[in-house]
């Protein structure tokens, strides 16, 4: 079948290389388990999805050990990380229960951690989860949204970075395109 052929040509390493061209925001998905233990994972696939009703989406690798625990309570917060929060990525990418050591946070309205210093906190209830290829696609219904301050962290080609404005007027039709 065609799909098998495609899988032979595009190796995971090549996929990573080419998709590394795509700049992404960096978002920490946080929640708690039954024992009120804080859980978190970092994704580069968080996206806006629907205005009415308000929905967001992200993808998580099926091999993630954190997501199966996090999804149990069906609530999560998407913390859009700021450009001085590279350390949080490292902490949350660690294995084991110590991820939240030295990570100041408060609890949001759904009881999920809001990491101090994020540029936005989006509280969600999981409304759909679809297995697609080697990832789960998660759709969250937004129950609460709060703006923080600071500039967003970017990830691109294996490197962290910042947004650099281009000093040029932008016509209205292009602005509404996204």
């Amino acid at each position: 079948m065609d799909t098998n052929l495609v899988a032979d040509i595009i190796t995971p390493a090549y996929y990573r290389q080419v998709l590394g061209k795509l700049p992404t925001g960096v978002v920490a998905i946080t929640g708690v388990n039954d024992d009120d233990e804080k859980l978190g994972l970092v994704v580069g696939t968080f996206q806006s999805l629907s205005l009415e009703p308000p929905l967001v989406t992200f993808c998580v690798d099926k091999s993630s050990s954190t997501w199966p625990k996090l999804r149990k309570l069906q609530n999560f917060t998407a913390n859009i990380l700021a450009d001085d929060q590279v350390g949080i990525c490292r902490s949350l990418s660690r294995k084991g229960p110590r991820k939240f050591e030295n990570l100041p946070c408060s609890l949001g309205p759904l009881g999920t951690p809001h990491l101090d210093g994020a540029t936005a906190w989006i509280d969600c209830v999981v409304t759909a989860e679809v297995a697609v290829g080697d990832h789960y696609m998660v759709v969250g219904a937004v129950t609460n949204m709060t703006e923080g301050s600071g500039d967003a962290l970017l990830f691109r080609g294996g490197k962290f970075g910042q947004y650099q404005p281009i000093e040029m007027p932008i016509p209205e039709e292009a602005r509404s395109a996204s």
Partner: protein
């Protein structure tokens, strides 16, 4: 238990937009050639994302009122051009109304028959695998037939504006 909090804070579209402005995104042009008329159709999305490595899949979403997407999806293959800084005119051209949106742009056809916009960071030849309705948008899941990298700095949409990527100091970027 949480239902109170849910109903107590309705999120209107202004609020949703204001908060989601904090999320920076790449900018991608989705284009195809109509199999019957030969016309080129295209649109800009800010939601292009990686999805699965094995099999190779990518995803993006489109509003259900989009008039461009149904035209693009008429072809069984479409191309994604990941835009570089300096390609704002591609956004303008593809966001405008009209029949020949690619007319003023430099592009050529890939081996898969999809339009590739010159000067982009990477090109993907894709085939639609699934379309999932989610609220007022459609999630498109597409398999990647071929992907080709190029060089350059990405165009980024953030806070309602276009910009580019500046790498953090090496000490921070370990």
């Amino acid at each position: 238990m949480t239902a109170m909090a849910v109903t107590a804070s309705p999120i209107d579209s202004d609020r949703y937009r204001a908060v989601m402005r904090h999320l920076p995104t790449g900018v991608a042009a989705i284009c195809s050639t109509d199999p019957l008329s030969g016309a080129r159709n295209g649109m800009i999305v800010g939601t292009f994302a990686s999805l699965s490595m094995d099999p190779a899949l990518v995803t993006f979403s489109v509003t259900h009122t989009s008039t461009s997407w149904p035209k693009i999806a008429r072809a069984d293959r479409f191309g994604v051009s990941l835009l570089a800084e300096g390609q704002q005119q591609v956004c303008r051209a593809l966001s405008a109304k009209g029949e020949d949106k690619l007319g003023a742009l430099d592009w050529s056809e890939s081996d898969w028959g999809t339009p590739r916009i010159h000067g982009s960071l990477a090109w993907f030849d894709c085939r639609v695998e699934q379309q999932i309705v989610a609220g007022d948008h459609l999630i498109v899941v597409a398999s990647v037939l071929e992907m080709t990298p190029s060089d350059g700095t990405p165009l980024i949409f953030h806070g309602g504006r276009f910009g580019s990527f500046r790498e953090s100091a090496p000490a921070q970027a370990a």
